[in-house]
């Protein structure tokens, strides 16, 4: 088991961090120009795309490093959506889509209907309604499981097809949009049978990496503030009431990082451990991220309650992430099943 970053991974982290510092503007929404540079200069769009499709063929350890930084910077827009779609596409590889993603030409997303039969494929026409699609307004292509006869296949739909209607949704997390998507006989392409497993686990790992970044950055922000803000003639970080809570938050970040490194390692090196590691990652990191973001907001005092301060962006991102792949109990129940309890 390897829980440490290599020198290359640390270099990758430094490069991404330095790029995002100044280029990630959470309140300004999706900026295609920034995404082009992320895909181009930094090569992030093709990070986990296999080399045969023009990607870097990197592993989840590298992906986790990147997502930790995009999380910490609250990068707005459909970055995570495209990562999710890429994860799905690596399990039902499609040259056209993967190549386009690797070249940074394509924004993609993936969605799971409430029930498998809610999206139906007849011939090359697809129909059904998806209540919440991450990055649904920005994405060019949607990857979605669909019922085709007796089997479930993975299908790709171009979202500018006239058979698609999209409605932008209000989101608690203003940095990242979602859309309601209605498929009404849009043209769809079958990518292959839906893989039995592996997609959701990897999405859990990816999301946990982002959550680690969110909680790390939230802790850093409040630690920095505790060093400059005074009350009753002392810096607030010198009060045990604040200091001890920050110490507990640090403990949560240390544990979350350990779990994320482990889960990413399992995705890369030990697929047998992956399901348990992925469920553990969502069960622990999802909760810890929200708790840290919540306490970081509270410890800011009144200023943390204002719209102008970024604290609420972390708080809301943390909550949106916590429930993104289902309410927390879903991951706990899955873990119980995997542990054969």
């Amino acid at each position: 088991m390897n829980l440490l970053l290599s020198q290359e991974q640390r270099d990758l982290r430094a490069a991404v961090r330095s790029f995002l510092d100044g280029n990630s503007r959470p309140r300004e929404g999706y900026d295609p120009a920034v995404y082009r540079r992320l895909g181009g200069e930094l090569g992030l769009s093709g990070l986990i795309v296999p080399e045969e499709y023009g990607g870097a063929g990197a592993g989840y350890a590298e992906l986790a490093v990147v997502l930790e930084e995009t999380g910490a910077a609250l990068l707005p827009g459909p970055f995570l959506a495209t990562v999710f779609a890429t994860i799905a596409l690596t399990r039902v590889p499609d040259k056209e889509l993967l190549t386009a993603i690797a070249e940074g030409r394509l924004v993609a997303t993936v969605a799971q209907p409430p029930r498998d039969e809610d999206v139906r494929l007849e011939g090359d026409r697809i129909a059904g309604t998806l209540g919440r699609v991450l990055g649904g307004m920005e994405a060019d292509v949607l990857v979605v499981p669909a019922a085709s006869g007796d089997e479930i296949v993975m299908a790709a739909v171009e979202l500018d097809d006239p058979g698609v209607s999209r409605t932008e949704l209000a989101t608690l997390d203003i940095t990242r949009g979602q859309a309601g998507v209605r498929l009404d006989g849009a043209r769809a392409r079958v990518l292959g049978p839906r893989p039995r497993e592996g997609i959701l686990d990897r999405m859990c790992v990816a999301l946990a990496a982002e959550q680690l970044g969110v909680m790390r950055a939230a802790l850093e922000a409040i630690v920095a503030y505790a060093k400059v803000r005074a009350a009753f003639g002392r810096l607030i970080g010198s009060y045990q009431g604040v200091k001890f809570k920050l110490a507990d938050m640090h403990c949560q970040v240390e544990q979350a990082e350990s779990i994320v490194r482990y889960a990413a390692w399992a995705a890369d090196e030990s697929p047998g451990e992956l399901p348990k590691a992925a469920a553990l990652a969502q069960a622990y990191v999802g909760r810890a991220c929200f708790e840290v973001a919540r306490d970081h907001l509270l410890l800011h005092g009144g200023i943390g309650f204002t719209w102008e301060h970024d604290a609420h962006l972390y708080y809301k991102r943390a909550k949106a992430d916590e429930v993104m792949l289902g309410p927390p109990r879903v991951h706990r129940t899955r873990l119980a099943d995997l542990l054969e309890l």
């Binding site: 949704l169 209000a170 989101t171 608690l172 400059v228 803000r229 009350a231 009753f232 003639g233 109990r329």
Partner: protein, 390 residues
């Protein structure tokens, strides 16, 4: 209380109910209508019930005041506009103002003719109210004010503001403050809505740019403002803790009663989380009931009310967090009421004293623990670390 008094009180209640049934508005009303309603309320004898008659009150007792408040809960009275004046500024003027000030301000306040706001908090002085930096400088017979206040409720409607300002920086922070009433309509006063994390503006920021105040509008002695502020905050705390028991839980989409209808209790884990919410809600509800019964019996809750405030802040966050986790992705999209509840929830832990301040009060004043060593009580204000250090 004698039996006779009880009978009279029941009759008083019945009369109040009849009056409210005829006069209380059916719906939420605007500020001008609300002012008109307050005038009728005062004419009918129900505004300032326990306040001294000579300044415009009704001259009755706390018993009638409470009896009316109980009855009034069943109606939608537009008292929010006047709550700061009635709950804090008015009582502070009664306690610490001159007769001339009482005569000038109390009756218009009770009749809704003049709305008040409270101007204590600043960006650099939240928990540490005594660290205010807004300056009032002597100018001839009067004063001139410059600075910024924040988290001000009702400032957009206010005629008057109760202003805590620094009048001496050479002395320790508590000793260089003075309290004033400031004319909110003066052109040097700018009221700007403050957008909070819900995306709405529940509060305001106020900027003072050379605003003159006559010395006759000073409340209490020069450099004695802290003791006036303490009196005022005591009234605030009382009105918060009195409100705790009845705070509109029924309208909170994250409350137990609302949530039980919104989630599927067939899942045993969901069911147990609802039980947890029920337990915590009931524990606090019963504590508030006990405090209310004590108050009614003449036992003053004092600093124990801070425990109730702390618990309410924790419950508010707990239930908003729990509810969104139970409901899942739906709760964070499409302007779901639970999304708003989650955004608004931290406000309870930040307004009226943070959880840290409340824990300190409980520790110091209820449990009698030794105080934190203080560095800010002896240093001249100009040498003190205040607000956010560059």
């Amino acid at each position: 209380m004698t039996l006779g008094a009880q009978v009279n009180l029941d009759e008083y209640r019945a009369q109040a109910r009849r009056w409210l049934e005829e006069n209380a508005p059916d719906e939420v009303i605007g500020v001008e209508e609300a002012k008109a309603f307050m005038a009728r309320l005062h004419d009918a004898g129900y505004s300032g019930i326990g306040w001294p008659g000579q300044w415009g009150g009704q001259g009755l007792t706390q018993a009638e005041e409470r009896a009316f408040a109980e009855v009034a809960r069943d109606f939608r009275l537009p008292t929010a506009y006047f709550s700061i004046g009635l709950g804090m500024c008015g009582p502070a003027i009664l306690d610490r103002g001159t007769d001339e000030q009482r005569r000038r301000w109390i009756r218009p306040l009770l009749r809704g003719e003049e709305i008040w706001c409270q101007l204590f908090s600043e960006p650099g002085a939240g928990s540490d109210v005594a660290a205010v930096q807004t300056r009032a400088v002597r100018d001839g017979d009067g004063w001139v004010v410059g600075g910024q206040k924040v988290w001000t409720t009702n400032a957009q409607y206010a005629t008057w503001g109760l202003l805590l300002a620094r009048t001496d920086v050479e002395v320790p922070k508590h000793k260089g403050l003075t309290m004033f009433a400031v004319d909110m309509r003066h052109p040097g006063v700018t009221v700007r809505p403050l957008r909070d994390m819900t995306g709405r503006a529940h509060f305001n920021e106020i900027f003072f740019d050379d605003v003159p105040i006559p010395d006759s509008d000073r409340i209490g002695g020069v450099n004695d403002g802290w003791s006036v502020a303490v009196t005022t905050l005591l009234h605030e705390r009382l009105s918060i803790s009195a409100g705790v028991g009845m705070s509109g839980q029924s309208e909170n989409p994250a409350s137990f009663e609302a949530l039980r209808k919104a989630v599927d209790t067939a899942d045993p884990l969901v069911r147990d989380q609802l039980v947890e919410l029920y337990i915590r809600s009931q524990a606090l509800h019963l504590f508030n009931q006990r405090l209310a019964q004590e108050t009614k019996a003449g036992i003053f809750p004092g600093a124990r009310g801070s425990a109730a405030k702390l618990l309410l802040a924790e419950l508010t966050l707990f239930q908003a967090d729990l509810a969104t986790s139970l409901v899942g992705p739906e709760a964070v999209t499409g302007d779901h009421p639970l999304g708003f509840a989650l955004s608004f929830a931290p406000g309870m832990a930040l307004g009226g004293g943070t959880n840290e301040i409340m824990r300190g009060i409980v520790g110091d004043r209820v449990l009698g623990l030794p105080p934190e060593p203080r560095v800010d009580k002896t240093v001249p204000f100009k040498d003190l670390k205040v607000g956010t250090q560059a």
